[in-house]
């Protein structure tokens, strides 16, 4: 489904990604790990066209993603969440989720202004969908609340809801359990697993919480200083000397 090949991104003198390549098959759940600054979020930003790659290719369902405009990523079925939240703080939780369905709607300035029947129908459908997603993620209670001032874990779920309503095939999660307590992590892992099979999702998840990543992912890709240093099933990557060194450092 996704083939990343020899991807390189430089910021000035810093090479954030250095010839990274990996593949993700449809239906897979892949964990992307690595110490801070390893280039995990940079990779996500390349996949969603926030950054231009200096070299390398990204093929998604056979299409070259580097040639796609940033706003055209969502319609291709790629959705993401953000590490430090990318919510719209002055919109309600429900409206935040509805923005996630933007690319599913057709209404333009004039047809919306005139509230043509087609627009009303579309709006009704999207709202019903939003309510279903909110319900699924236990957010119905806060649907009318502005998407700020709520617990961090709740806001993370709002982001997930917003990603899901776009009917993605590829879901990119950037540290989804960051800031959750142990019980919440467990619960989130369960929810994510269920949602994944309900929606037939392919998932790439960036996460520092090793218990979560190792428990939920079939395959792990480990980055360090922009380079892929390991790839394989969780139990293998966990024992990989390069990974252990990257996380713990070598004895001086």
């Amino acid at each position: 489904m996704l083939e990343v090949h020899d991807l390189t991104v430089r910021f000035g003198g810093i090479t954030a990604l250095d010839g990274v390549g990996f593949e993700v098959a449809a239906g897979e759940m892949v964990g992307l790990i690595g110490p801070n600054g390893a280039g995990k979020t940079t990779l996500f930003n390349c996949l969603t066209r926030r950054y231009d790659a200096d070299s390398g290719t990204i093929a998604y369902e056979g299409r070259d993603l580097t040639a796609v405009a940033p706003y055209a990523i969502a319609p291709l079925g790629i959705a993401r969440t953000f590490q430090n939240l990318g919510l719209f703080p002055r919109l309600s939780v429900r409206d935040n989720v509805l923005v996630g369905a933007h690319h599913r709607g057709r209404a333009g300035f004039l047809s919306a202004g005139l509230r043509l029947p087609g627009v009303r129908r579309e709006e009704r459908e999207l709202r019903a969908d939003a309510d279903a997603v909110l319900e699924r993620l236990g957010l119905t209670e806060v649907a009318g609340h502005p998407a700020t001032g709520l617990p961090f874990g709740t806001l993370k779920r709002v982001e997930l809801a917003r990603a899901l309503i776009g009917r993605p095939r590829l879901l990119l999660l950037d540290e989804p359990v960051n800031g959750l307590n142990a019980a919440e992590v467990e619960e989130f892992a369960g929810t994510l697993g269920a949602i994944r099979s309900e929606h037939d999702l392919t998932v790439i998840v960036v996460e520092h919480h090793m218990g979560f990543v190792m428990g939920i992912c079939e395959r792990i890709v480990c980055l360090d200083f922009g380079r892929k240093i390991a790839e394989g099933p969780p139990e293998e990557v966990q024992r990989d000397p390069a990974v252990i060194e990257a996380y713990l450092g070598t004895a001086a």
Binding site: A69, A74, R90, L91, H103, G144, T154
Partner: protein, 337 residues
């Protein structure tokens, strides 16, 4: 509720309960009834003033779309107001067009101009955008004076006001008031419909977080440019109605001052709220002349001080203040569950 339950539950959420929609409709109906009743109770001069409040409200509705909802800035909206006013005036003066037809044409001209200027302007942000839009407003007056053959130069154009039809039994000021009221209501319905839809959410999204909006598939350049063009169109429509009501246009009515006053009026009225433009219209209509009355020598000082006071007392504008007061009032009414 047991004590252990409380511990595991997240902090209680302070829900900002939206007012019951029925109350809202009742309030709007009451407001509309008052608006229809008012011209029969007021002296013609006050009817005229009220008409002008509505004219400015329509212009501010457009400006609000851009500034309050899409989060962009324009220091040059007076120019689009002027373009609408002059389009209407020239159509009436040169082609003797029936006046109802001048409205869509003037709005269309302002829309096209807004689109043409919006394409380059919307690539700019913040201060740069402010400067470019300010330049538009500054350029306009000399331009109007330059093309004297069409615009009447510094002397402007004097026109006949729309006459009330015999069947209506209305005086001229009342007729103009009702024409303006119809345009205002239509403009509000258009803006409200737009804002309640996918388009309004896209504008809010790009205002709050451009990156996230784009990841959700919102095409930033498209929405910014069209918000600018629609905003210009509302201002142009307001300008055209201004021409009907005043029956006279001249370059000196549309200086940079008008643009600044409009923006100040909107901020004082309340950015991003639907009632803000009406309150802002009251501000634009009355505050400059009141400050003239208070101190003839320094109207600018009084004007400025008033803005500062309002911003201090009500940082979310008069609309926000009104909502807060209403909220307090509602709390006192026991709620039936």
């Amino acid at each position: 509720m047991s004590a252990t339950k409380v511990v595991t539950e997240p902090a209680p959420v302070r829900e900002r309960r939206p007012p019951d929609p029925r109350w809202r409709w009742a309030g709007l109906a009451l407001l509309l009834a008052a608006a229809v009743y008012a011209p029969f109770q007021l002296v013609p001069f006050h009817v005229f003033q009220l008409t002008m409040v509505l004219v400015y409200a329509v212009a501010l509705l457009g400006l609000n779309l851009l500034v309050g909802h899409a989060g962009q800035i324009s220091l040059g909206h007076g120019a689009f107001f002027a373009v609408g006013a002059y389009s209407g005036a020239i159509l009436l003066d040169r082609w003797d067009l029936p006046y109802p037809l001048t409205l869509p044409v003037a709005a269309g001209v302002a829309f096209v101009l807004g689109l043409a200027l919006g394409v380059p302007a919307m690539r700019l942000r913040g201060l740069y955008l402010a400067l470019v839009t300010l330049a538009i407003a500054i350029f306009l007056v000399p331009l109007l004076k330059r093309f004297e053959a069409v615009t009447g130069g510094s002397m402007g154009l004097t026109l006949a006001k729309p006459a009330p039809p015999g069947w209506s039994g209305l005086a001229e000021d009342q007729w103009l008031y009702f024409l303006t009221l119809i345009v205002t209501v239509a403009a509000f319905l258009l803006a409200a419909g737009l804002l309640r839809s996918r388009v309004g959410r896209a504008l809010h999204a790009l205002r709050d977080n451009e990156t996230a909006a784009e990841v959700m598939g919102v095409r930033l350049s498209f929405y910014k440019t069209l918000a600018f063009a629609w905003s210009a169109m509302f201002a142009g429509a307001a300008g055209c109605v201004y021409t009907w009501v005043i029956g006279f246009v001249s370059p000196d009515s549309f200086t940079v001052n008008l643009s600044i006053t409009l923006l100040a009026g909107l901020v004082v009225g309340g950015l991003g709220s639907l009632s803000g433009p009406v309150l802002g219209g009251l501000f634009v209509m009355f505050v400059p002349s009141i400050s003239q009355d208070v101190n003839d020598a320094a109207p600018g000082v009084i004007f400025g001080l008033l803005i500062i006071v309002v911003m201090y007392v009500a940082p979310t504008g008069l609309a926000g203040l009104a909502a807060r007061l209403a909220g307090r009032l509602v709390k006192k009414i026991p709620r039936k569950e």
